[in-house]
């Protein structure tokens, strides 16, 4: 583990400034489960930046923070996980009041299916072949949450991003970094490169899968395992709209469809599910790529939703997870808006 981060976590727990730390740890085999650590000695197994993303950090955080009655929690997570946590707090699934989010310059993650002794063992930020497709085109790879561990451009320091981040550093006696220009330069250059990849990928996707026929094609391999939904930090509903009884088609309707079209696909709600999910979560999508990682059919679903999200968030001038103060677009009523979409 990075020595500065180690020092910070240890001191924060030891001095009682936080009562627990949430961080990935080394588990049995090649697993990296999230752990909620209350005892300093358990930090020995911590792996703050594991090679894979096994569970999206915001999802892990939401599993026990709908209410935060006592003591502060320090959560160490990737920038996309911190952004998802911010979205989940707006959706009232996480109470961020007593939570400090610490992120880092994220190297990206190895695809779950390719990680292992015979495969890729470490993500390399400079080698896209070692990264998940969404990580390759990620422009939000640093500077999210309250604090950020900066490890590039000649820097190795935890930088405060918010007042509560600053407060933590002050209480631990961590001094402010005087010169962060080298790191900023690195981040800007990296962001620029990623942006080019991102735009290029989106253009290619749009060309390949635009229109209804394109969507039918890309989702034809879907086996309805719903893993994309389950692993998505933003899809938090306990019972999804698609699983409700009133979504079921009567047998006669299936037969009718089959007769009209010559044949009809059973599990006929595949496309409705995916389009419905995009409509529900694309405004809060943080492009973490968890859905694509979990898909057993290798559908580029993360890249697709990220592309849709770029368009839907642009309509509302919204950036998912960036600012806790920005209200959710669909929770905001403006008497005058979106005239360009009328008629």
């Amino acid at each position: 583990m990075n020595s500065i981060l180690k020092d910070l976590l240890r001191k924060a727990l030891d001095n009682g400034i936080v009562s627990s730390v949430m961080v990935p740890s080394k588990g049995p085999g090649n697993s990296f489960p999230w752990t909620l650590v209350s005892d300093v000695s358990a930090l020995q197994r911590a792996e703050p930046v594991p090679p894979v993303m096994s569970v999206q950090g915001a999802k892990a955080l939401a599993s026990f923070t709908q209410s935060m009655p006592e003591g502060k929690l320090l959560a160490v997570m990737r920038p996309c996980e911190a952004r998802a946590a911010v979205e989940l707090s707006k959706l009232e699934q996480i109470d961020l009041d007593n939570i400090i989010l610490l992120t880092m310059d994220c190297p990206g993650a190895v695809p779950l299916g390719e990680y292992g002794e015979d495969g890729i063992t470490e993500p390399d930020i400079n080698d896209p072949a070692t990264l998940r497709p969404l990580c390759r085109q990620c422009t939000g790879f640093t500077s999210a949450g309250d604090l950020c561990l900066a490890m590039h451009g000649g820097l190795n320091a935890v930088l405060p991003l918010t007042a509560s981040g600053q407060e933590l550093l002050d209480s631990l006696g961590f001094k402010a970094e005087a010169d962060i220009s080298g790191w900023e330069e690195w981040a800007n250059a990296q962001r620029g490169e990623r942006q080019v990849t991102r735009v290029e990928n989106m253009e290619n996707l749009k060309e390949a899968y635009s229109g209804l026929q394109g969507l039918i094609e890309v989702f034809s391999g879907c086996i309805s395992c719903r893993s994309c939904r389950t692993v998505c930090p933003i899809c938090y509903c306990r019972l999804c709209f698609i699983d409700m009884k009133d979504r079921r088609s009567p047998a006669s309707e299936h037969l009718e469809r089959s007769r009209n079209g010559g044949a009809a696909r059973l599990m006929s709600n595949t496309l409705l599910f995916h389009i419905g999910r995009m409509a529900h979560m694309s405004l809060s999508c943080v492009s973490c790529g968890m859905c694509e990682d979990a898909c057993p059919s290798d559908i580029p679903i993360g890249r697709l939703i990220s592309m849709v999200s770029a368009d839907t968030t642009a309509v509302f001038n919204y950036s998912a997870g960036s600012n806790p103060e920005d209200p959710l677009p669909l929770n905001t009523f403006l008497p005058e808006e979106l005239h360009e979409y009328e008629d």
Binding site: L36, S63, F64, P250, A251, S252, L266, S268, P296
Partner: protein, 298 residues
């Protein structure tokens, strides 16, 4: 097997029985799973004419997606799922109306169809260019495959952790689980609209999670990975038809099906229950017998 056939047939018939005859092409494990669906009021057999086959097994989806497709299809029998390799019930039971001979010890010429019902005989009258037989496919046609499968099942039962191996072996087995619940969603028998492990009754409260973290020094979050797997094992093992769909869908290659097949074999033997054999067999968990299972109660 992209979607287990029973799931598709359940999707078709869950709200009402079919009002017109429909022929369904199903593998034997799909038939058995659908029979269990019917018992749980998740489907209806009315007006369904079942065409099945002596099943050669299926290839794991990930293999077909990520490896040399042509090469794998050429060597079909060497590339089938673990669960298919250890499947003893690859010849359809009494629910099928007709069985097409696909898997057999010796290569056979042309299409050979076994007719099991009057309806099948009636339909087959219009078929030419097929060899038609009545009754079940003779056991000797597939006895070699059966022997090989029996050996594979024995190996599977030996190699997968046993209850005596303790909690730690299960923790290790499921440590890489990402909680995607794909195994549950792909399972034709996990038909609950809201899973027990998504309910407020079963989810761990924030207070409990934090208390446990304090007590133990650290805990895994989200909590309940093993609880979910063991719970599903308990709910499904009496009726599991060993189709292997759960392993196929797992993005981190946990041998879920092997674990379920092992448990299902032991549980079904002690309950003297064969899932999918007959719609009239009552599910063991829905049956009360005053005196039973003395071997377990003492």
């Amino acid at each position: 097997m992209p979607v287990q056939g029973a799931r598709a047939l359940s999707d078709l018939t869950i709200t009402e029985p079919l009002n017109r005859p429909v022929a369904a092409l199903l593998r034997p494990c799909e038939i058995r799973a659908f029979v269990e669906n019917v018992k749980q009021t998740q489907g209806n057999l009315e007006n369904i004419f079942i065409i099945s086959c002596t099943c050669p097994g299926v290839i794991p989806a990930s293999k077909l997606l990520r490896e040399d497709r042509e090469e794998i299809l050429k060597n079909h029998s060497e590339n089938i799922r673990n669960s298919c390799g250890a499947c003893l019930e690859f010849v359809p039971g009494q629910q099928a109306d007709m069985t097409v001979l696909v898997a057999s010890d010796e290569p056979h010429k042309g299409t050979v169809i076994y007719l099991h019902t009057e309806k099948a005989v009636e339909i087959a009258e219009k078929l030419d260019s097929c060899t038609l037989e009545t009754g079940k496919p003779p056991a000797e046609l597939t006895s070699g495959i059966l022997e090989a499968r029996k050996k594979a099942l024995k190996d599977l039962m030996r190699d997968i952790p046993a209850p005596g191996d303790g909690l730690q072996s299960l923790v290790s087995l499921f440590s890489a689980c990402i909680g995607c619940r794909g195994c549950r969603e792909a399972c034709p028998l996990c038909s609950c609209i809201l899973c027990d492990y998504e309910t407020a009754r079963t989810l761990h409260s924030p207070e409990l999670v934090r208390t446990e973290a304090k007590r133990k020094g650290s805990i895994r979050v989200p909590a309940g990975t093993l609880q979910f797997q063991l719970g599903r094992l308990m709910h499904i093992s009496p009726i599991c038809t060993s189709c292997g769909q759960c392993s196929d869908v797992c993005p981190v290659d946990i041998p879920v099906a092997d674990i379920f097949i092992r448990a299902a074999n032991l549980v079904q033997e002690s309950l003297d229950y064969a899932p999918g054999r007959d719609t009239d067999d009552t599910p063991p968990m829905a049956t009360y017998v005053e005196k039973e299972l003395p071997s377990i109660t003492d």
